[in-house]
């Protein structure tokens, strides 16, 4: 009951944001933050739930963006269909990674990074399909049932809607049999295998879902920015998404959203500090890594515990300690 109230409160804050801040540049930044949150939610499933360190999410993001842009521009596909197909294309391309999901830890990270570089080079060099280093210009604004989302505010609400749907689906997914199986794999692969969980199948499925999420985020980005450039989809972007997840707190879905907001908004707020802003941002990442086990989400729950302990009478404290 309490958590529902908090959720409604947070959602209304998101709904109110574009009315509180009407500057179109800031609305654009908020959109980017929401898209970042969708990306981080996808990676959270991989890193936080299944313990798979992927450094290739930007590849799926790029595939989604370019597929969506080309479908709407060159084949006159309606936006919503292109949006879904972008996710599907990214998911299908993640099947290319199916053989490498059985790799462990660091090797998987480096292999997905290699995949990201391959996709980036494809986007950069195949000019017939992607426009090469000039990119794709004038990607149309999304058209929903004859109504064009021309303004930043309309786009913001569409991103918010998609974000909420992705969040709720991830939330359900984590609690399902699928989510429990992923957690089991993250904790102990051999034990999970002994319980009858097909490790590689579940890992591939996990990649598939994360790639689909990144793909639709890419579609949103394409129609929000109206311009695509291969440089937006380098492994730097993958690393940025990883920072979002880890800063927000590994294993926490709200954490992924908070992490995305921090990573996108913080450099904007630090803009006044000029050349120092990225130094401050990097230092902030380092400090956050040391500040608690679970990033911002961990910090929040730690503070929450402190607050609760301070509020409850001492007598009841031993009860809390009981399992």
């Amino acid at each position: 009951m309490k958590s529902t109230a908090i959720r409604v409160l947070i959602l209304s804050a998101f709904v109110a944001a574009p009315f509180a801040q009407t500057n179109s540049y800031w609305l654009h930044v908020f959109c980017v933050a929401l898209i970042g949150a969708i990306l981080a939610l996808g990676l959270q499933l991989l890193v936080g739930m299944a313990g798979l360190l992927s450094l290739g999410q930007a590849a799926f993001y790029g595939i989604g963006a370019y597929v969506s842009a080309s479908l709407t521009m060159h084949f006159n596909v309606p936006f919503l269909l292109a949006f879904v197909l972008a996710g599907v294309a990214a998911a299908l391309s993640s099947l290319l990674l199916a053989p490498i999901v059985r790799l462990q830890g660091s090797s998987l990270a480096v292999a997905t990074l290699g995949f990201n570089i391959i996709i980036y080079l494809f986007l950069l060099n195949e000019e017939w399909a992607t426009g090469g280093s000039f990119g794709m210009m004038n990607v149309p604004a999304p058209n929903l049932f004859g109504y064009t989302l021309a303004g930043e505010r309309g786009m913001y609400f569409f991103c918010l809607l998609v974000g909420v749907i992705v969040y709720l689906s991830m939330d359900r997914l984590v609690r399902s049999r699928f989510g429990r199986a992923l957690k089991a794999i993250a904790q102990d692969e051999d034990a999970a295998r002994a319980c009858g969980i097909s490790i590689n199948l579940y890992k591939s499925k996990c990649f598939l879902v994360a790639a689909f999420t990144a793909g639709i985020a890419g579609s949103l980005y394409a129609h929000q920015a109206h311009y695509l450039n291969p440089n937006d989809f380098t492994f730097n972007k993958s690393i940025e998404i990883l920072i979002m997840v880890v800063v927000g707190g590994i294993g926490s879905m709200p954490g992924a959203v908070i992490g995305a907001l921090i990573v996108v908004l913080m450099p904007e707020y630090l803009r006044s500090s000029g050349e120092l802003r990225l130094i401050l941002f990097g230092a902030l990442v380092v400090v956050l890594m040391g500040s608690s086990r679970g990033g911002i989400a961990g910090l929040a729950s730690m503070l929450g515990d402190l607050f609760a302990r301070w509020h409850t009478p001492r007598k009841s404290a031993p009860e809390d300690a009981m399992p």
Binding site: I117, V286, M289
Partner: protein, 294 residues
């Protein structure tokens, strides 16, 4: 492909391969000692290149001294970061992935500090070697490339000797193989870890001066090279020193030859495809490391 092109490809590939090997060695040493994937290793290389370049500007020293100063710059930078950041994080007992992401934060900080100090324009290294090609068996070879290969190999040989014959080197090996046992044998594992960062920084600093003398030095020269060195270390088998050396060489040769034979646009992709294929055939790389799993 003519014989001349082939020989030039070999020399060029080995030269760039030496640079990858030197960084990959540092990355591997750090993984062995701490399990950290050190994404800031490329930035240590950049610091090495920049300090070397500053030494040239200030006093215009001979190449060997410039190389030394670059090595010191890289080594000191790596050691300072280890002492101030990674050691603190380890003592807070945060999960490993937090430390790995903190190396990305360190990399962002180092790049932007370097941009403040040395500016954002690529800086040209002065000509440290004579430009005139050396004739070997009727083929003209750039003396610069030969120097890089010779110095790179010398440095790797020295590292091997260091690991085999010095007390510190042996202690490092012991601490990497089994920290608890090494501690019981009287090795100060904490201090040895710091020295590991120092040695890996020295290697990266040397690589920085060599790479800078080949192309140019800029604040963002390191990151991509660092990533490629990671791939090279993984090809060799993350955690094996021999693997890191050979992985770097193989990666340099493949990059150079796929640039000549396939296409310059996709030369990086060829290495990545090779990486994925090798990991599929031998998930632990070409050289499987005995002992602790990462």
């Amino acid at each position: 492909m003519s014989v001349e092109q082939f020989i030039q490809g070999i020399i060029g590939g080995l030269a760039i391969g030496c640079i990858y090997s030197l960084i990959a060695l540092g990355i591997t040493m750090i993984i062995r000692a701490t399990d950290i994937l050190h994404f800031a290793q490329g930035e240590i290389l950049m610091i090495g290149a920049m300090t070397g370049l500053s030494a040239v500007w200030m006093v215009g020293l001979p190449f060997v001294v410039v190389l030394m100063i670059g090595m010191i710059g890289g080594g000191v930078a790596a050691m300072v970061i280890e002492l101030s950041v990674y050691r603190t994080l380890r003592s807070l007992r945060v999960p490993l992935i937090n430390v790995v992401v903190s190396t990305l934060g360190v990399s962002i900080v180092l790049q932007n500090v370097a941009r403040l100090v040395w500016g954002s324009e690529p800086l040209r290294y002065p000509i440290l070697f004579s430009k005139r090609g050396i004739e070997i068996g009727g083929f003209a070879i750039s003396p610069q490339l030969i120097w890089i290969v010779v110095l790179g190999f010398a440095m790797m040989a020295l590292l091997q000797l260091f690991f085999r014959y010095t007390r510190l080197g042996i202690a490092m090996q012991a601490a990497a193989q089994d920290p608890e046992a090494a501690q019981l044998m009287g090795v100060n594992v904490k201090r040895i870890t710091t020295y590991t960062f120092l040695v890996s920084g020295i290697m990266a600093g040397a690589a920085g001066v060599l790479l800078g003398s080949l192309f140019f030095a800029s604040f963002n020269m390191g990151f991509l090279v660092g990533i490629k060195a990671f791939v090279a270390a993984t090809i060799g088998g993350l955690g094996s020193l021999t693997g890191a050396m050979l992985g770097g060489m193989i990666f340099g040769l493949i990059e150079t030859f796929s640039g000549v034979l396939i296409s310059t646009a996709y030369k990086d992709a060829v290495g990545m495809v090779l990486l994925i294929v090798i990991l599929l055939l031998a998930p632990s790389g070409i050289f499987i490391r005995a002992g602790r799993r990462i």
